[in-house]
């Protein structure tokens, strides 16, 4: 499986993401610059964390207009797995690939620590290696992770099982303790916690690795004969 790590001016978790895929997961991966005009050769798209365009105006607001985002939208429509972490999640929200918006953390502080997440839905291409209700530990690092959507949207997210991860102890004021959601089709996941920073026991935990393994497993089942 071949992954793309999209790099915007101001991305800073791109190297962690690349490392997670190449060295821990053992799959192919390439950096793709934000002005790239094709993602056709890639099977999975990863939008890393950081401060794209300095978070000017709103987090993710400017990145959403880069060339590559047109291709990300195309890839999403084609059903390819798209994972946005932290700033990547914020960009997916601004691009309209996921519903809702981010507000400043309730505490107004930047939070950087490992948190407990509950796997709310293990029937997605991102979570099939976890068990339902399992608690995993993944670090967060953000100032604007306070997820918001209107009541109607929240009801729809619940009804379609689009809430994939919730916080056990809500760190940022996020609505309904939401840490990660998918789109209706289930092939676009946005999450504030950083699975790419939890791929090796040496670095404090490997609970994030299963997410990348899940993506590969789902992809093999769909694309490889006799997988």
């Amino acid at each position: 499986m071949k992954f793309a790590v999209i790099v915007f001016p101001g991305s800073n978790c791109d190297v962690d993401m690349f490392h997670a895929i190449q060295d821990e997961l053992g799959e192919q991966v390439e950096y793709v610059w934000h002005d790239s005009e094709s993602l056709e050769e890639f099977d999975g798209i990863l939008l890393p964390g950081g401060f794209s365009y300095g978070d000017y105006l709103r987090t993710g607001a400017i990145a959403r207009f880069s060339n590559v985002m047109k291709e990300v939208i195309k890839a999403a429509e084609a059903g390819k797995p798209i994972l946005g972490v932290c700033n990547g999640f914020q960009i997916l929200l601004e691009a309209g690939l996921l519903p809702g918006a981010m507000r400043r953390n309730e505490s107004l502080s930047f939070i950087c620590k490992p948190v407990e997440l509950k796997v709310e839905n293990n029937q997605t291409m991102f979570t099939n290696e976890y068990s339902n209700g399992e608690t995993i530990i993944i670090p967060v690092a953000h100032g604007e992770g306070n997820y918001y959507c209107d009541e109607e949207t929240l009801a729809r997210l619940k009804e379609n099982n689009q809430i994939v991860f919730t916080y056990n102890q809500n760190p940022n004021g996020s609505l309904a303790d939401i840490a990660g959601i998918t789109n209706e089709k289930g092939n676009v996941l946005g999450m504030m916690p950083h699975p790419e920073r939890a791929v090796d026991e040496l670095l404090g935990g490997a609970d994030g690795l299963k997410m990348f393994q899940s993506i590969v497993k789902a992809w093999r089942e769909a694309h490889v004969v006799n997988a």
Partner: protein, 84 residues
């Protein structure tokens, strides 16, 4: 030329943690009469005249980029000015 002043604020239904913190600070400065503070953004745009209606253009700009309709409202003032 138009000078357009755009004000973007969080929607009434959306909690404003910054505004809340500032309200608390004002209370600790003994301004108990301050009931609420909402923090927003102020932007000034200089826009050249075109065939298109200025209101149409500004509304488009605001809803496409300057404000996020999920959590923010905007209002604006248009002032016609002479270029020197």
């Amino acid at each position: 030329m138009y000078k357009v002043k755009v004000f973007v604020t969080l929607r009434e239904s959306v909690l404003d943690p910054q505004g809340k913190a500032v309200t608390h600070s004002l209370h600790s400065l003994n301004y108990q009469q301050v009931a609420d503070v909402r923090i927003g953004k102020y932007m000034e745009l200089t826009i050249e005249k075109s065939e298109r209606d200025i209101n149409e253009v500004v509304n488009e700009i605001c809803s496409n980029l300057l404000a996020n309709p999920v959590i923010e409202d905007y209002r604006y003032e248009v002032e016609e000015c002479v270029t020197l």
